[in-house]
């Protein structure tokens, strides 16, 4: 569990009276895509900046392969900050080669890698153009290339999908997967929960500086309550309230969302439904990441106010 990869241990960061990150711990394994989810101001960007050494944590440590991460190791991390930034008046190819060299690539490797990534992103002919002459979408591609051009041993991307068109989103997801397959741990944050659900191996939900949930999407789903959608057009109101161990979450026309406690077998509910007349639907409700996210927000608020 500890060989390779990244571990954050009890990271804490305070801005004056505001506790931005509060004892945060999680791991990202080599070859894993880790989705980082949370509302604005939850502490995602602060965590990433601490990871990169741009900010210094008040407490806690960042480990790489079990050892505290150093300046030279951090240089090998590909970083795409939320606030994008490039030199607008520098030529695209020169800029990428410069980034590669700053991160420690030898000059010749930097030039070769720049050519490779420009080709990959369809910008082969734009290398001599100043960055400012590129369209917004192409500037985003150059920004991503700047994080990839030195063959990083880890990727940290803050909101990499923000402002991308669907085509670019697909290209971006493809690159993340490809890097993960090459054994690189990938951390990214996003507000687009369906996207996170689709491409992440594991997800961490952060709220007010600490993780409220962390695991694979399946683990997070199975941790939720057991719920069924039942469509019973002939049933009278209140039919389900008579069943023991069953709670009505909400109704939608003739459809009922029922929550079963751990002891109630689903077949007993189905029989009760059939007793009311025809049953058009009987389906396990699998919570989406959005549901889980809302759920954990609520639990966190309850816990915080308790």
């Amino acid at each position: 569990m500890t060989e390779g990869g990244l571990q954050l241990r009890n990271i804490t960061k305070r801005y004056g009276s505001l506790l931005a990150v509060d004892g945060l711990s999680f791991d990202v394994q080599p070859g894993e895509v880790f989705g980082f989810v949370g509302s604005n101001g939850a502490g995602k960007t602060t965590t990433m900046r601490i990871l990169l050494g741009v900010l210094v944590a008040d407490a806690g440590e960042v480990l790489w392969a079990g050892k505290p991460i150093g300046f030279e190791t951090r240089k090998r991390i590909g970083y795409m900050p939320e606030e994008r930034g490039l030199y607008p008046r520098m030529r695209v190819a020169e800029q990428l080669a410069y980034m590669a060299e700053l991160h420690g690539s030898p000059s010749t490797a930097a030039v070769a890698s720049t050519a490779r990534w420009l080709e990959r992103f369809g910008l082969k002919d734009r290398g001599k153009d100043e960055v400012v002459r590129l369209s917004h979408g192409n500037q985003q591609r150059v920004q991503l290339a700047a994080a990839l051009v030195f063959d990083p041993m880890m990727l940290v991307l803050d909101e990499p999908f923000a402002g991308l068109d669907p085509e670019a989103v697909d290209a971006m997801s493809e690159v993340l997967h490809e890097r993960a397959l090459a054994g690189v741990p990938v951390i990214f944050s996003s507000h687009q929960l369906e996207l996170v659900e689709r491409i992440s191996d594991r997800v961490g939900i952060i709220q007010r500086g600490h993780l409220v949930a962390c695991g694979t999407v399946d683990e997070l789903r199975s941790g939720g309550p057991t719920r069924y959608w039942v469509d019973v057009p002939a049933a009278r109101d209140g039919w389900a309230s008579l069943l023991s161990g069953v709670r009505v979450v909400r109704t939608d026309g003739t459809r009922w969302l029922l929550e079963l406690d751990g002891k109630t077998p689903d077949q007993a509910v189905l029989q009760a439904a059939l007793a009311t007349g025809p049953v058009h639907e009987f389906r396990r409700d699998v919570p989406s990441l959005l549901d889980i996210f809302r759920e954990s927000m609520t639990e966190d608020r309850v816990a915080a106010s308790a």
């Binding site: 801005y15 004056g16 900046r49 990169l52 050494g53 741009v54 900010l55 300046f71 951090r74 240089k75 991390i77 970083y79 900050p81 606030e83 994008r84 930034g85 490039l86 030199y87 607008p88 008046r89 520098m90 410069y98 980034m99 060299e101 700053l102 991160h103 420690g104 030898p106 000059s107 700047a146």
Partner: protein
């Protein structure tokens, strides 16, 4: 490419990172149209200024065409020689007869025709005669008349002339360096003005470079791989090299033009002044660039730069103005003290070196003090820079920048 600016030779480590930053800062600016066009225009203006100065105020070479008949031929060579020493070039023409010679004067081919008896020649001109030619011609004619009289009196004109040539006034120089001092002062003013402009322009360029990285947010990517101090020093050195290159080009232009047109005729004054100027540009630039960089790191937008850099610019301007007082009172102890202590030394000392007022111990002391202040400012500016450069938004207060806390 300078070997210093080729980080490819160094495999890795902080020195390579530093050189990469220096190279980017240098090349980006040197290749810009602003630098190329600006430098060429300045070089042309400077050379033109020196040439015009020299031509207008020192010597105007005029060419005068004068025709001589066979009778007056003997006057042509001595006149050419005499007028030549006074900056008038006489071109002589042999004319067969007076009639055709005067026709050429009328048509403008000749400026004057000298004919008749060499002791009282007839000089035909259109409407005036060049004053130098007239004076020298008159003297020659009197000489001819004198020689004739001496011969008639039985004396030997050659012996008399030799005796006359030996007689001369005895010149006693009471203030022999006055002319040299004037030239030195002119050079001193030039050096001070160039340094003053260079410090303000390149200091401002450093502040802009710092703010540029904040404004377009690239600073966050850079600081994920580079230490703030490396970035700060790389920027200062890179921009400093641009300034040094431009000043060296301007200095060389001034020196070569001045030599070519003999605007300066004291050996080594120009070279000493320029060498002193370049040394002090390096010291002064590093000192002020650190201050400008720290000031720039407090703001996030180009339009806010003047609000933080104007105190520094005022300091440079004030020092430049003090220079005139120091030149006028070269022995005043206050002026001497000011020229030794930073931050005034980088403008006052090179100017005093150029005017020839600075003594060696003063220069050495000023260099040591300035180096000390640079070491101090390096720590101070790096701290302010590191604490402010990631704070994008409103202007960072100096106290916040110093403490680093929120």
């Amino acid at each position: 490419m300078l070997p210093l600016l080729d980080p490819g030779r160094i495999a890795s480590g902080p020195v390579r990172t530093f050189l990469l930053i220096v190279r980017r800062e240098f090349l980006t600016r040197v290749r810009s149209r602003f630098f190329v066009v600006g430098t060429i225009v300045f070089m042309a203006l400077l050379a033109g200024y020196i040439v015009v100065q020299t031509l207008v105020f020192n010597r105007a070479t005029t060419t005068v065409n004068i025709g001589f008949t066979s009778q007056t031929q003997a006057l042509s060579q001595p006149l050419t020689a005499a007028a030549g020493t006074e900056g008038v070039k006489v071109v002589t023409h042999n004319i067969a007869d007076v009639q055709s010679g005067e026709d050429e004067v009328r048509s403008g081919k000749l400026d004057a025709l000298v004919s008749g008896d060499p002791a009282s020649p007839r000089v035909s001109v259109k409407d005036n005669l060049n004053i130098t030619v007239a004076v020298n011609l008159n003297a020659l004619v009197k000489q001819v008349a004198l020689n004739r009289a001496l011969t008639a009196a039985g004396a030997d004109p050659t012996a008399v002339q030799a005796a006359v040539a030996r007689a001369s006034i005895q010149l006693v120089y009471l203030d022999p360096d006055a002319a040299i001092k004037t030239q030195r002062t002119v050079v001193g003013v030039f050096v001070a003005a160039l340094l003053y402009v260079a410090l303000v322009v390149y200091g401002q360029m450093v502040a802009q470079g710092v703010v540029e990285e904040k404004a377009n947010r690239i600073i966050e990517i850079l600081l994920a791989t580079v230490r703030p101090r490396q970035l700060l020093l790389g920027k200062v050195v890179g921009i400093g090299l641009v300034g040094l290159l431009q000043l060296a080009l301007l200095g060389a232009t001034a020196l070569i033009t001045a030599r070519r047109f003999q605007a300066i005729n004291i050996p080594n004054v120009g070279a000493t002044a320029i060498a002193g100027g370049l040394l002090w540009f390096v010291l002064g630039f590093i000192l002020y660039a650190l201050l400008y960089a720290a000031a720039g790191s407090l703001v996030s937008r180009q339009e806010d730069i003047p609000s933080v850099t104007s105190p520094l610019t005022m300091l440079v301007v004030a020092t430049y103005l003090v220079f005139f007082w120091v030149t006028a009172n070269p022995d005043n102890p206050i002026g001497i003290t000011l020229s030794i202590i930073p931050p005034f030394a980088p403008i006052l000392m090179p100017a005093r070196i150029a005017t020839g007022d600075a003594q060696l111990w003063q220069v050495v002391l000023a260099v040591i003090l300035t180096l000390g202040e640079i070491a101090l400012l390096n720590a101070l500016a790096a701290r302010i820079y590191a604490n402010s450069v990631l704070r994008i938004g409103t202007r960072v207060k100096l106290t916040q920048a110093w403490r680093g806390a929120d």
